[in-house]
Symmetry: C2
Subunit: 419 residues, 2 copies
């Protein structure tokens, strides 16, 4: 069989396990060294391909590549950059082909979420639209869990585990102090459009009798009076109330809570943070002592508390992508298919990229309890297996060890290109 090179890039917001997918891709490529010569990683995602800014992963030691499996962030750099349509931006596509030709790249692996799937789809059409023989495979990744077809998106299970664990731990803290101190604790988590991550907070307990007592989903219109009544009820009943709130919490008219018009002394809009916004409502309406936390990047970077299920799936889709490519399955994505809930069983199955790109998977209404403040049993059945298993990284001097890569750059063969 002819031997050609491959390209891999990370795209969009990174996760605790995107490098586990990179590890899967790289190790699979190495096992197929008879057919794949060099695997080049794009420095900062697709931008690396456009700028001919390539890292030769063949220069990395086996140990360094293995360490990617337990290293958060995007080891080769990621980007937020969406290819425009080929009709209006033909030059970008021509440049990609020029770079691929110059480096004999015939396999393209793109590791990202919904927007990236669209980019990958466009690249996968290059063979047809521009006559360049390329096999493009999308490797799924997103903490938002909004990719369709696949049971879940690698990256989500680990955020879910972080949020559920943090909620359980913080709830014990608040419970022990509530007789004379904080009565309401608000944890803000990611999820601008869908409440998947907030929903995972519910795994901390068995029912709203245990913390968290309340979840604020972006899918359920925020009703201040109702929410405050529920908080007050929990404080009266349990002595304290723990809430998990999605950053995307919004009113019925679609206004985000964080865009509620508050301004600071200089007349500037108050900076993000639905947690402090909600806290101020608690103070005004109920007068309870509160505390709030905003997990932000900590949640999607928390590799130290990653879900083993998630790490395994992230690796598996990376590995499967290479097999698909070598089988000539252009324009596909390895998806996770759930075989059973309990015990949780799953396998990887190919899905057509055209069914993935530009489709968002929202949380089904029936995963949320009828009153809109908690998850349903169906929601729990879906979520519970995704946080199963621990996969602690090795530690050194008390801290998680991370991969140290050489990131040897590939010599440029082409003229510069302006983005």
């Amino acid at each position: 069989m002819a031997k050609h090179n491959a390209f891999y890039a990370q795209s969009g917001g990174v996760t605790a396990v995107i490098n586990a997918s990179a590890c899967g891709v790289i190790e699979a490529c190495r096992r197929h060294s008879d057919r794949i010569g060099h695997l080049y990683a794009g420095h900062n995602g697709i931008i690396g391909a456009l700028l001919e800014d390539l890292i030769d992963t063949n220069q990395e030691s086996e140990e360094a590549i293995a360490a990617l499996r337990h290293t958060p962030g995007g080891a080769f750099g990621s980007c937020r950059y969406k290819l425009k349509s080929i009709e209006t931006h033909r030059a970008e596509y021509e440049r990609l082909i020029e770079v691929f030709k110059a480096h004999d790249i015939r396999y393209f692996f793109y590791n990202g979420g919904g927007d990236s799937a669209d980019t990958c789809l466009k690249v996968s059409q290059l063979s047809e639209t521009m006559g360049y023989p390329l096999t493009a495979i999308h490797v799924p990744k997103t903490v938002d869990n909004d990719l369709p077809i696949t049971d879940n998106s690698p990256g989500f299970g680990s955020v879910a585990k972080y949020v559920a664990t943090s909620t359980r731990e913080a709830a014990l803290d608040i419970e022990s102090m509530c007789s004379t101190s904080t009565k309401v604790f608000i944890l803000e988590v990611m999820g601008r459009h869908a409440g998947w991550i907030a929903a995972a907070g519910a795994l901390s307990g068995e029912s709203p009798e245990e913390a968290p007592h309340l979840i604020i989903f972006p899918e359920i219109a925020f009703d201040r009076a109702k929410v405050m009544a529920r908080i007050d009820e929990a404080v009266k009943h349990h002595g304290f109330c723990v809430l998990v709130v999605s950053e995307g919490a919004q009113y019925a008219d679609g206004t985000f809570l964080t865009d509620s018009g508050s301004t600071d002394a200089f007349g500037h809009k108050q900076l993000g943070g639905v947690a402090p916004t909600l806290a101020s409502m608690v103070k005004e309406d109920l007068g309870h002592k509160y505390h709030w936390a905003v997990a932000d990047y900590l949640q999607r970077a928390a590799r130290h508390i990653a879900s083993k299920t998630d790490v395994n799936q992230a690796y598996a889709v990376g590995e499967a992508a290479v097999e698909l490519a070598l089988a000539g399955q252009n324009s596909m994505m390895p998806a996770i298919k759930r075989v059973s809930d309990a015990p949780y069983e799953w396998k990887v199955e190919p899905a057509s990229l055209s069914e993935i790109a530009n489709h968002e998977k929202f949380m089904p209404r029936d995963y949320i309890s009828e009153d809109g403040f908690y998850i349903s049993e169906a929601g729990r059945r879906y979520l519970a297996p995704l946080i199963l298993g621990e996969d602690f990284p090795p530690f050194e001097n008390g801290l998680p060890k991370v991969a140290k890569l050489k990131k040897a750059k590939v010599d440029r063969k082409l003229a510069r290109f302006e983005l």
Copy 2:
């Protein structure tokens, strides 16, 4: 030897390892069942003693007590309640003696920080001032690390490990995205009066060449222009800047950054959060894209990433407290004494409570770098060993298991008492 009962209570803000101290106290008492009959825990700290609200720890299984070692929060409830002076509040002290007499309590273990040490000191004087034979021992605990004499305070090492780990993980996330996304990341940590916790963030890297690039201490007067210049420099040099900022960050005149006079649209003071305050300065002065996180209770409850050194020390001071009490050493506190930095060696030594109560230990200026934005080598030598070792809790269904206690209440023998 005569056999009497003992009392144990948790006081002030709880930590990830205060229950490990409880475990040490309880297991040591059980080993001395010839001299200590029942160990009663105060429900909600000293309030439990005043209200005769006692939990009989003898009713708990060995397994449940062992599980305290890996359970965050305060298992018996804690409180913020400081005994006033005996001169003005004699009735409270008389009540304590009444409760102790009614339940034959002759040993008093109080697990807390600086304010609690003062309460314990007052209780330890009861034998002298009011003729009741009681041996009172303070068990040190505080994430603030501000107790004197002891090398460090149990609870601090685990927060330090959480902050250093989270900083390292988040920094990898930001680094991978900085070419097209967030350039400045701000992590707010606890420490109203001292920068110990913020300082621990520096353990994430080896020097300010690695993240975090900047630490904002409460001990160093905040100078907006200087800080912004440093942030901009880091962004230019590294492509991104990670800051760890203490919630106690303040201007030269002692005004907290969080009290900077910002108000929302309703004219209310903007709610806490030095991180969003600093973020708004970054936006105004530099225009860089930013993100911020506020760890709040997550940091002091994060038992899943506790320092093994900290867990061992927390247990050891609990155990030592019982030995001191049985040796008749009234008004003492088992303190941690550092024997060597590297390899880190430590032992427990008794310290007199009068030297502990009402003395605060601040961060020595020479633990901070000369420019005020980082730790010094001396600071690193002090901090580094405290985060050593991991002590992961057992997990079940993907989540940390926590102790389930019966908390059997002791029958009341006295009339009610009003606080």
